[in-house]
């Protein structure tokens, strides 16, 4: 009796917890379809106009208001974000996977040092890493731009890929590789036919994680972005600092959609493997 009550209480709490986590997100999505240009909080009908607004099309809502935020800047920011994410994902996936393989396969003296080194960027407060990178780039005379952002993102994303691939390697059965060697495959063939297919979900998962974090990173990018290398999160942050506008809801909703797609892809891959 008492147990059932406790269970109910926990259930109710769990639901409240999920509401706390998701209500703000649902709210943004709802507001992005609200056609009230004066007060977001008052629902005055369903509209797609904010989406048209951010894409630069004139709509009924923004004809007589000053809401139009320059679409060119937004698109440039999206482009910058995608370029940065594409490069950082590639570099950090390759390097992170190589490191995971090295630390899993071989025993050597500096092993623990490398483990520590790889965990460090993940626990380092973003602001410290951002400042350190800024000071570093300035002191070696490198100009800030897309290159500096790519380098900056790689310094911590390698660690994320490393962790994901390592977890996958840890669950691997050693006898498979031994069997492959016993059957006469050389090490390269064994790697390509046995090891790589086994860790592939981990590598793809790590890459997705790196991509999504790179697309979303604000703090580190904030310090090492140049004048004309604004990324999407930086662009929204800038907009937000200047004041709350309804079309931010639309941009945020599109970003949410993007995040959900990539995250679901990751979950699907994990389920299948």
């Amino acid at each position: 009796m008492k147990l059932r009550l406790a269970r109910r209480l926990f259930g109710a709490y769990g639901v409240l917890f999920l509401v706390f986590v998701y209500a703000p997100i649902v709210m943004i999505v709802a507001f992005s379809f609200n056609s009230n240009p004066i007060n977001m909080m008052v629902w005055s009908g369903f509209t797609f106009d904010w989406y048209w607004t951010i894409l630069g099309y004139p709509t009924e809502l923004n004809e007589d208001t000053l809401y139009v935020e320059s679409t060119d800047q937004l698109l440039a920011a999206v482009k910058n974000s995608l370029i940065v994410a594409a490069f950082t994902t590639t570099i950090s996936t390759v390097l992170g996977t190589m490191t995971a393989l090295a630390l899993f396969r071989y025993r050597f003296r500096a092993q623990r040092f490398y483990q520590g080194l790889l965990y460090m960027p993940m626990v380092m407060p973003d602001i410290v890493l951002g400042i350190a990178l800024l000071v570093f780039f300035v002191s070696i005379g490198m100009s800030l731009g897309l290159y500096s952002i790519i380098i900056g993102h790689c310094t911590f994303l390698i660690s994320y890929v490393f962790v994901v691939v390592s977890a996958r390697l840890a669950g691997m059965d050693n006898t498979l590789e031994e069997a492959s060697a016993d059957l006469g495959a050389n090490e390269w063939v064994t790697f390509r036919r046995v090891t790589l297919p086994h860790i592939a979900p981990g590598v793809v998962g790590g890459a997705l994680l790196a991509f999504i974090i790179s697309m979303d990173d604000l703090v580190i990018t904030y310090f090492i972005a140049g004048v004309d290398s604004t990324t999407l999160p930086l662009f929204i942050y800038g907009m937000l600092r200047r004041g709350v506008k309804p079309e931010i809801n639309a941009i945020a909703t599109l970003m949410l959609l993007f995040t959900f797609i990539i995250a679901s892809l990751g979950l699907y891959l994990r389920r299948r493997s």
Binding site: R7, Y22, P24, A102, P121
Partner: protein, 294 residues
């Protein structure tokens, strides 16, 4: 022969990453420490002279002259530490019951709920905070609903207060507490609870004598993972705290982007790094030992 070949392979596998992290991760940290010991340049940047007073400034004196004694930096430091600590308590209080709840769910539900709870971690920080700006601002969701329900007469100020900063930080860092706590709660053996109640312990006694001690490693890990980013946060206080709730993160940002005292900013960053290392060291010492115990 084989050993040498292994060594070559290891070098090939680890060479690029060593080079990259050596130059682009360790390098910047070293440069930052050097900068913290240089004289501030007049218009930003540094003069290449040894200068250690930036460290003194945190405690209130500049240039070794006690007359400029000013507690403001120490105050900001203490406020950040206090808010970060409260945030650890809030996230723990929110996540611990949630973790117990998920543990009691049918197996097929668990993975999905854990996925749902951690999903916001992947949503852009700026989007999540934008939501809270919308909720908390004077004409925002919270005030409009309360006014609409007739619970309050006029909008009350919650944005730009410490409460707003705490709400935002707790929301943003929730997954960092949930995951480690859940990982340790999930491992709890059900027979321990039965044994405890068979021996006559009440459920409250069981909770404090069995559940909490066994999940202490998860609690500790979550606390460290929440404390460190809370301490150095500058986006949350910037958007939800305004100028009133200044934290170390804002102070560091100001030193680089507006005050242009780079060495002082570097000193603050070095301090943050030192606190981080200290916490991790304590964690590894205490919890590492606890886990090796039979």
């Amino acid at each position: 022969m084989a050993v040498r070949r292994d060594r070559v392979r290891l070098t090939v596998l680890l060479g690029p990453v060593s080079l990259f992290l050596g130059i682009c991760f360790v390098g910047p940290l070293v440069v930052m420490i050097i900068y913290s010991l240089l004289e501030p340049g007049l218009y930003g940047g540094v003069e290449w002279n040894f200068y250690h007073w930036s460290y003194g400034r945190i405690l209130g004196w500049a240039d070794g002259e006690w007359e400029d004694f000013d507690w403001v930096y120490a105050e900001i430091f203490l406020r950040s530490a206090r808010l970060a600590f409260i945030n650890v308590l809030i996230t723990l209080a929110l996540c611990y019951p949630a973790a117990l709840w998920v543990r009691g769910l049918p197996r097929r539900w668990r993975l999905f709920i854990v996925f749902l709870i951690t999903l916001p971690f992947f949503i852009s920080l700026v989007v999540r905070l934008f939501a809270w700006v919308l909720i908390l601002r004077p004409t925002g969701f919270l005030n409009s609903s309360l006014l609409g329900l007739g619970l309050i007469e006029e909008p009350f100020d919650i944005i730009f207060t410490e409460t707003a900063v705490l709400i935002g930080m707790a929301y943003v860092l929730l997954p960092f507490m949930f995951l480690p706590v859940y990982a340790s709660v999930e491992k709890l053996d059900h027979s321990l609870f039965e044994a405890s109640s068979d021996l006559g312990a009440s459920s409250i006694q069981t909770f404090f004598r069995v559940t909490v001690p066994l999940t202490l490693p998860g609690i500790a890990a979550g606390s460290v993972l929440v404390f460190i980013p809370s301490l150095g946060n500058f986006i949350v206080p910037d958007l939800l705290g305004g100028a009133k709730v200044l934290m170390i993160g804002n102070l560091i940002e100001q030193q680089f982007l507006s005050a242009r005292n780079w060495p002082f900013g570097a000193v603050l960053s070095v301090m943050m790094m030192a606190i981080m290392f200290l916490l991790i060291l304590i964690y590894l010492r205490r919890i590492g030992r606890m886990q090796t115990r039979p």
